[in-house]
C-alpha cells in the first residue's frame, strides 16, 4: 500500500507496467512537441512578444511622451486640437514611434493608428505597475515603472479599442483606462 513501505524491498528493480510505460512515452513526446512549438512560433507566427526594453527614469519618460504628444497632436477641421474627454488625441506618422504612458489612473494620450501599418509602441509606467489590456482584442501585457518596453504592433481591424488596466494599482484601479483608435 501507498502508506506502508514497499512490499518488495528491491522495488526499483520491479519492471514497469506496459500501460505506464506507454503513457510516459506519449506524455513525454507531447511535452517535447509543446516545447518545440513555442520555438517554432517565433518563425511561423505573427504574435511573439517583443523583448526590446530600455531602462528609463519615470520623469524622463514623462517628458519624452509629452514632447512627442505635442508634436503629433491631432488638429481638427476647426483648427482646434482634438481631445476625448479631456485627453489629447495624437496621430503619429505611419510606421513611426508611438508612446503610451501609464499612470494613476489613466493611459495617456489617446492614439490614432492606421490599419495594417506597423508601429513601434513604447509603454512604461511613471508610478506603479499597471496592466495593458487591449480590448476587445484581448492582448495583455505588464507595464513596469523604470522599464520602457517597445512592441512592434500592427492593427488588423479598424474601430475604437479600449485599454483596461488589469494589474491592481490601488483604489482607482477600476477607473484606469485608455483608448486606441484605428482608421483606414
Amino acid at each position: 500500500m501507498a502508506i506502508t513501505p514497499p512490499a518488495n524491498r528491491l522495488w526499483w528493480k520491479e519492471p514497469i507496467h506496459g500501460v505506464e510505460l506507454g503513457w510516459i512515452v506519449i506524455a513525454f513526446l507531447w511535452g517535447l512537441f509543446m516545447f518545440f512549438f513555442m520555438i517554432a512560433w517565433h518563425f511561423i507566427g505573427d504574435q511573439n512578444l517583443s523583448t526590446e526594453t530600455y531602462r528609463v527614469k519615470p520623469a524622463a519618460y514623462e517628458e519624452k511622451v509629452a514632447a512627442w504628444a505635442e508634436q503629433y497632436q491631432k488638429i481638427g477641421a476647426d483648427g482646434e486640437p482634438v481631445e476625448v474627454e479631456g485627453t489629447p488625441v495624437v496621430a503619429p506618422p505611419e510606421g513611426g514611434d508611438v508612446y503610451i504612458l501609464a499612470r494613476l489612473w489613466e493611459f495617456w494620450p489617446v492614439v490614432e493608428l492606421k490599419k495594417g501599418v506597423k508601429y513601434r509602441i513604447h509603454i512604461s509606467s511613471v508610478d506603479w505597475q499597471h496592466g495593458f489590456s487591449l480590448q476587445p482584442v484581448n492582448m495583455n501585457i505588464s507595464v513596469h515603472p523604470g522599464y520602457e518596453h517597445v512592441i512592434n504592433l500592427t492593427p488588423t481591424e479598424t474601430g475604437e479599442f479600449g485599454i483596461v488596466c488589469n494589474e491592481y494599482c490601488g483604489i482607482g484601479h477600476h477607473t484606469m483606462t485608455g483608448l486606441i483608435r484605428v482608421v483606414e
Binding site: A2, P5, P6, W11, H17, W23, I39, T53, E85, N138
Partner: protein, 576 residues
C-alpha cells in the same frame, strides 16, 4: 532515547507516548497526534475566514449584486488570498508532514517542543497579517508587487510565518532521521512519505526565496532601503509564489495515494514510476517562476521558453504520470476487491457515498481537467498574452488549489477526524454530500472565471462596467456579465460546501460518537483487506481498460484545447 525505547517496548505503561490505531494498525505518537490536531483545527479556522472573504469577493464581482464598496473589495481580496492560499493550505500541510513522518513511519516526533515553536510563530504571523490587512493600509494583494507599499507589519507577518513554517519542516526532516536511526520501519519509506518529502524539500527552496525577497522589502517599508526593482521583485517573488504551488501539488498527490490506500486498499502500480514522478517536481521547480513573467518587459524569449516549460515540460510530465498511476492504482485495487465487470464497474461501484473517496476522486479529475490543462496553456510563452492578468488566471488556480488541493485536504479531513481525533462523523448525510457541493461550486467558479477571462474581463477589478473610468473604453459582452453572475451562484454553492465542511468537522470533533471503545465502528469504513477476493494481475497481466479510456479522454481534451488557443492567438493583431 533510552526512555523512549523503554516506553515503546512496554506498551502497558501509563502515559505511554504511543497508542496503536485499531483501524489502521499504525503506531501513533501522542506528541505528533496533538500537533496534527492543532494544525488541522487552525487550518480550518483560516479556511472559514478566508472562504467567507472569497464569497464576499465573488458577490462583489457579480455586477448585479456588487456587495462590497471598492475599498473593502480590494481589502477583502487581499485577505482572501493570504488566508486561504497561505494560512489554510500551509497549516494543513504541516499536519500532513507530521502524519507522513511520525505516524506512517511509526516513529516518535523528533522535537515536539521545536515543532510547537514553529506552530506559534506561524500563528503569530498569520494573525499579524490579518491585523495588517484589516488596518486598511496593506491593501496590496498577497503578491504585494512593488513599488506599491504595504504597512511594514504586512511584510514582517509573512516573514514570521515563513520562519515558523521552516522550523516545522526541519522537525519533519529530523523525524525522518530519528525513524531511520531507530529502525521503526522496514526497507524504504512509504510512497506517501516520499511525496511528503518532495513537498518538504520544495518548501525549503520556497521559504528561502521568500526570505530573499521579503526581508529587503520589509526593510524598504521601514525606510532603510530606498528602492526595490519591480522586475527583480517579481522574478524572486514568484520563485516563492510558484514553487509553493508545487508544494501543494506534491502534498495533495500524496493524499490521493493515501486515501486510495486507506479506503480501497490501493497500492502503487509500480513504486518506481510514482516516485520518479515526484522527483521530477523537485528537479525542475526552480524554473517555475518564469511563467508568471511571460508578459513582462526585458526577459529574453529563450529564457522564457526554457523556464516556463520547466525544461521541456518535465514537471508537467510528473503530474501527467500521477494522472495515470492514481486512477490506475484505484482500478487495480477495485478489481482485486471483486469489481471486475466491464471497463468501469470498478468506478461505478466505488464508495461514492464516502466523502473521503468522493472528495479525492473529484479533486483528481478537476485538478487534471480544469487546473492542469489551463495551467499549461497559460504557461505557454505566446499564449500567455491572451489571458495574462485576466480572470482566466484566478479561474485556473481555483482549479488547482481549490478544486484540487483544498478538496483533497477536505477529503483527508474526513479520515483525520475518526482516526486522529477518534470521534466519528456526527452527521454522515451532510458529510456525504459535502464533496459534491463544494466540488461543483469550486469547479464552477474555476470554469466561469476562465470563461470571463477569455472574454477579456480583468482580474482584481471592482467594476467591469467602467462607470467611473477615465474613458468608457470597452463594453464587455453580455456573455461576460452572465459568466460573472454564474460565478457568483457557484461561489454560493462552494461557500455552502465549505460551511457544511466546517460545521460538520467541528461538531464531530466536539460531540461525535467516541471511537476509542473496543468495538466501535466508523460510519465511513476503511478498506477491509479480508473482503479482497483475488490477487488481480501481476506486472505482466495487469489490465486497466477503464484508466486507459479516462486518460485517453484527458489527453484528447488537452490537445484539442491547446490548438484552439493557438487558433485564437493567430487571429490577434500582429506584434513582435
Amino acid at each position: 532515547m533510552a526512555s523512549i525505547d523503554a516506553t515503546a517496548a512496554g506498551s502497558g505503561v501509563v502515559n505511554a507516548p504511543y497508542r496503536m490505531c485499531r483501524f489502521t494498525g499504525l503506531k501513533v505518537d501522542q506528541a505528533a497526534e496533538t500537533l496534527i490536531k492543532v494544525h488541522a483545527v487552525t487550518a480550518v479556522i483560516f479556511l472559514a475566514l478566508g472562504g467567507l472573504m472569497g464569497l464576499g469577493v465573488a458577490l462583489t464581482r457579480w455586477p448585479a449584486v456588487q456587495i462590497l464598496p471598492p475599498e473593502w473589495f480590494y481589502l477583502v481580496l487581499t485577505g482572501h488570498g493570504a488566508n486561504v492560499l497561505l494560512f489554510w493550505i500551509i497549516f494543513f500541510e504541516m499536519a500532513v508532514l507530521f502524519f507522513a513522518s511520525a505516524i506512517l513511519l511509526g516513529s516518535r516526533l523528533a522535537a515536539p517542543k521545536v515543532a510547537w515553536l514553529g506552530y506559534i510563530l506561524m500563528l503569530v504571523g498569520a494573525l499579524m497579517a490579518n491585523y495588517a490587512v484589516l488596518r486598511g493600509d496593506s491593501t496590496v494583494m498577497f503578491t504585494s508587487y512593488v513599488p506599491m507599499q504595504a504597512s511594514h507589519w504586512f511584510y514582517l507577518s509573512l516573514i514570521v510565518f515563513a520562519v515558523g513554517a521552516l522550523i516545522s519542516v526541519m522537525v519533519f526532516f529530523a523525524t525522518l532521521v530519528v525513524a531511520k536511526n531507530e529502525n521503526t520501519y522496514d526497507g524504504s519509506v512509504p510512497l506517501v512519505t516520499f511525496g511528503a518529502i518532495t513537498a518538504a524539500i520544495i518548501a525549503v527552496f520556497t521559504l528561502a526565496s521568500g526570505a530573499i525577497i521579503l526581508i529587503p522589502t520589509w526593510l524598504w517599508s521601514l525606510g532603510l532601503i530606498t528602492e526595490i526593482d519591480s522586475l527583480m521583485y517579481k522574478v524572486v517573488w514568484w520563485g516563492m509564489g510558484h514553487s509553493s504551488q508545487q508544494i501543494n501539488v506534491s502534498a495533495h498527490v500524496a493524499i490521493w495515494y493515501a486515501i486510495a490506500a486507506m479506503v480501497l486498499g490501493a497500492k502503487p502500480l509500480s513504486e518506481k514510476v510514482s516516485r520518479m514522478a515526484f522527483l521530477m517536481y523537485i528537479l525542475f521547480l526552480q524554473l517555475a517562476s518564469a511563467h508568471h513573467l511571460l508578459a513582462e518587459p526585458g526577459m529574453s524569449a529563450s529564457w522564457k521558453i526554457v523556464n516556463t516549460s520547466y525544461m521541456m515540460y518535465l514537471a508537467v510530465l510528473g503530474s501527467m504520470i500521477h494522472g495515470l498511476t492514481v486512477p490506475g492504482a484505484i482500478e487495480a485495487a477495485q478489481r482485486r476487491n471483486g469489481f471486475t465487470r466491464g471497463a468501469f464497474e470498478w468506478l461505478t461501484k466505488a464508495p461514492w457515498g464516502n466523502p473521503a473517496f468522493s472528495g479525492m476522486f473529484l479533486s483528481l479529475v478537476m485538478f487534471g481537467f480544469i487546473g492542469g490543462i489551463s495551467g499549461v496553456i497559460l504557461g505557454t510563452e505566446q499564449l500567455n498574452v491572451l489571458m495574462h492578468n485576466t480572470l482566466y488566471v484566478p479561474g485556473h488556480f481555483h482549479g488547482t488549489v481549490v478544486a484540487g488541493t483544498t478538496l483533497a485536504f477536505m477529503a483527508m479531513t474526513w479520515l483525520v477526524v475518526p482516526l486522529i481525533f477518534r470521534r466519528d462523523i456526527i452527521w454522515p448525510t451532510l458529510a456525504k454530500w459535502q464533496p459534491y457541493l463544494f466540488g461543483i461550486g469550486a469547479g464552477g467558479i474555476s470554469l466561469f472565471m476562465m470563461g470571463a477571462g477569455t472574454l477579456g474581463v480583468p482580474r482584481r477589478h471592482w467594476d467591469i462596467s467602467l462607470a467611473d473610468a477615465a474613458h468608457r473604453a470597452v463594453e464587455f459582452p453580455a456573455a461576460a456579465y452572465l459568466m460573472m453572475g454564474l460565478n457568483g451562484l457557484f461561489a454560493i454553492l462552494a461557500a455552502l460546501g465549505g460551511l457544511v465542511f466546517i460545521v460538520t468537522v467541528v461538531a464531530s470533533i466536539l460531540a461525535g460518537p467516541k471511537l476509542d471503545g473496543p468495538d466501535a465502528k466508523m460510519v465511513f469504513p476503511l478498506h477491509d483487506a479480508s473482503r479482497q477476493v483475488s490477487e488481480y494481475g501481476s506486472e505482466g497481466t495487469l489490465k486497466l481498460p477503464g484508466t486507459i479510456i479516462l486518460v485517453g479522454i484527458f489527453f484528447a481534451a488537452f490537445v484539442l484545447y491547446y490548438f484552439v488557443n493557438w487558433k485564437y492567438l493567430s487571429e490577434l493583431w500582429l506584434f513582435n
